[in-house]
């Protein structure tokens, strides 16, 4: 007996471990710091986020932060990623530390997935309401069906206060005011407890008598019929009828209590309106581009033509959320995340104002540790070794023009 007891005890332990593992197995994705592990071409050649602004970097619980800006949907979208016909404007945060109080693309609320067009630029805004205190890295993010998450730049935002203060008041169309943070929870616990008790009662009815050995012996000796008594059947019928009647009654009373209910709302939203950007008057041809691995620098030879009526200078090259600025032309005043900002990262061989009608060939170097830190240099190991990014030119009046570049990239290892 001792041996059997030990065996059962150790088996129980294994089963318990299995059960606990299963229960512990799954938690919804909480991490949001995937940006560096994402393939460089995904970040360089899909969605380009720019003009980003995080309205605050410290908020109290229940206060809001707005993230606004624009994103350009790259026209040279990589073939290995599905086109953004079904895309969802998400936000990269570790779980619901903020609630998403609203999100808009082109002024349209986008709680559901949208269709985006290649080559277009959209403005967007995400309104977040602070819920859980802590320091959180808040990323812009676009999920593309068949492509996965495309993570934009992240900035640290601090939430102060206490989560117990958080409220989420909602008024329904039937005029009820409720707090979505806690609404219906008591009701859920109550009905789950009631039915659990019914289930336990049924189990208890059978477990209170001898179970396994005597019943197995009875079945083995052909006396199986004696094991279910008339009383058992009565109890069973009571449980069965009680369960069915209770559910019928509950269905009725629930419908009376909630006469107006609607199905879940779903479906892709089309017709999102992109920004109307003027056709750039500057044209750029990439003659060649190399990435110098030891120098952590990308060097491009560009032929720039100014077809406009004001002279222009190159102020910024942006790719994969990393901004390389030409300090003589542009200084960042938006509080862009430091790690993604190379304030003196852009050098141009001749950046004197390019007069209207003039064409000039220049050598442009974008260098910063960010190439390594953000693993953009991994680009050279891509099957389709190309780079892409946005060039920003500024005229005398400070007006900005955006020009897309997309060209092959040759690595240089010496």
């Amino acid at each position: 007996m001792k041996i059997i007891k030990d065996k059962v005890a150790s088996l129980s332990f294994v089963a318990l471990l299995m059960a606990l593992t299963a229960a512990m197995f799954y938690a919804p994705t909480a991490s949001a710091h995937g940006e560096k592990s994402q393939a460089a071409f995904m970040r360089m050649r899909t969605i380009h986020w720019y003009d980003l602004n995080w309205s605050k970097d410290e908020v109290a619980v229940n206060e809001t932060v707005t993230i606004s800006g624009k994103f350009h949907v790259f026209s040279g979208w990589p073939e290995s990623v599905d086109e953004p016909d079904v895309s969802f404007l998400n936000i990269g945060i570790p779980g619901p530390v903020f609630i998403r109080a609203g999100s808009w693309i082109g002024g349209q609320l986008v709680p559901r997935s949208v269709a985006l067009s290649l080559g277009e630029t959209y403005d967007f805004k995400v309104l977040l309401k602070a819920r859980r205190p802590g320091d959180w890295h808040v990323h812009t993010m676009m999920n593309v069906q068949g492509g996965g998450p495309i993570i934009g730049p992240g900035k640290w935002v601090t939430i102060t206060g206490s989560m117990s203060q958080f409220v989420n008041p909602i008024v329904t169309l039937t005029g009820k005011t409720l707090d979505l943070e806690t609404y219906n929870i008591g009701n859920i616990y109550f009905w789950h407890a009631v039915w659990y008790a019914v289930g336990v009662a049924w189990m208890w009815y059978w477990a209170k008598g001898p179970i396994f050995i005597p019943r197995q012996l009875a079945v083995a000796s052909g006396k199986a019929n004696t094991l279910i008594s008339a009383g058992d059947k009565k109890v069973g019928i009571a449980f069965l009828v009680g369960t069915i009647v209770a559910n019928a009654v509950l269905m009725g009373t629930t419908n009376e209590a909630y006469p107006v209910t609607t199905p879940l709302q779903a479906g892709t939203m089309r017709g999102i309106i992109p920004l109307e950007l003027p056709v750039p008057s500057v044209s750029v041809v990439v003659d060649d581009a190399t990435y110098r691995v030891p120098g952590r620098a990308m060097q491009m030879s560009l032929t720039i033509t100014n077809n406009g009526d004001s002279s222009v200078r190159l102020g910024e090259f942006m790719t994969a959320s990393v901004r390389f600025l030409e300090p003589n032309v542009l200084e960042d005043e938006t509080g862009y995340p430091d790690d993604l900002l190379a304030e003196e990262g852009l050098t141009v061989s001749d950046n004197s104002p390019l007069a209207p009608g003039e064409t000039r060939s220049v050598s442009v170097t974008a260098s910063d540790a960010a190439w390594e830190v953000y693993r953009l240099a991994d680009l050279i190991y891509d099957p389709d070794s190309r780079f892409a990014g946005l060039l920003f030119f500024f005229d005398e009046a400070g007006n900005r023009q955006m020009v897309m570049v997309d060209a092959p990239l040759i690595p240089s290892f010496i």
Binding site: M1, V8, S12, A15, A19, L20, A22, A23, M24, F25, Y26, A27, P28, F88, G92, G95, P96, R100, G102, L109, P111, S113, N143, Q145, P149, I170, V171, T172, L173, E181, Y183, N187, I188, H192, W195, Y196, W202, M203, I211, I213, A218, V219, I228, D232, K233, F239, T243, A246, N247, L250, M251, A257, Y258, T261, T262, P263, L264, Q265, A266, T268
Partner: protein, 249 residues
């Protein structure tokens, strides 16, 4: 000690040992089923069971009963044919719900802070009672599969409705209509679960007009019948003792 010699010396002792054995087996069975069934259910029912904004009138009603009838059918096969115990389905569902509640409370709420009103599990106990009682009254696998399986599918939606209905109240929010469940799904950010993977209100049942839940429930019941047969046989096979040479049964 020879094999024929008894390990107990009196009838009273035999009864006590037998009872100890009962509780140990029940405990092992409960926890083992909890582990296996929970993993199976997470992999097959998954998001439909996790989130209130997946609990729709079509796919949730259809998918959850079908993937959930598996273990109850198998455990019923073992407990009924060997012991005439009509508790297989209830035992499975109680184990599953315990595991789910631990997971939802500790991981979804305790670790990731999703409010329980968006991530509570689906109710399956009334269906389990139907399966067990039908098996007890009929003693027939075929009848349990047909009547029990159908009942299991049909009672799923009504038994969840008292908990779901409040979340299906409509709200106007920034110029669009939501249900409260949709709004929870939108508010409480799931970075890894973008909106487009949500499979709700899809399918061709629209031809049936607005009352699609009963149609989905019937369809679910029919498929549950088939799955019941399949897993009942799995259970019988799994509970076999052919590996012991002197098999009594």
């Amino acid at each position: 000690m020879s094999a024929s010699q008894s390990a107990v010396r009196s009838r009273a002792e035999a009864v006590a040992v037998s009872r100890t054995f009962d509780w140990m087996i029940l405990f092992v069975l409960f926890t083992a089923v909890l582990g296996g069934y929970h993993i199976h259910f997470m992999l097959t029912g998954g998001d439909w069971d996790f989130w209130s904004d997946w609990k729709d009138r079509r796919l949730w009603v259809t998918v959850v009963p079908i993937v959930a009838i598996t273990f109850p059918a198998a455990v019923q096969a073992c407990l009924w044919w060997r012991y005439r115990l009509p508790i297989g389905a209830t035992l499975c569902v109680l184990a599953l719900l315990l595991g789910e509640w631990i997971n939802r409370y500790m991981n979804f709420w305790g670790w990731t802070y999703f409010p329980i009103n968006i991530c509570f599990p689906s109710q399956l106990i009334p269906g389990a009672i139907i399966l067990d009682v039908v098996l007890m009254l009929s003693g027939s696998m075929t009848l349990t599969a047909v009547a029990g399986g159908l009942g299991w599918g049909l009672i799923f939606y009504p038994s969840n409705w008292p908990v779901i209905a409040p979340l299906h109240q409509p709200v106007e929010y920034n110029g669009m209509m939501f249900t409260l469940a949709d709004l929870s799904g939108y508010h409480y950010v799931r970075t890894g679960t973008p909106e487009y993977i949500r499979m709700v209100e899809k399918g061709t049942l629209r031809t049936f007009g607005k009352d699609v839940a009963p149609v989905s429930a019937f369809f679910s019941g029919f498929v549950s019948v088939i799955i019941y047969f399949l897993w009942h046989f799995f259970g019988k096979w799994f509970a076999g003792t052919g590996f012991i040479a002197d098999d009594a049964s």
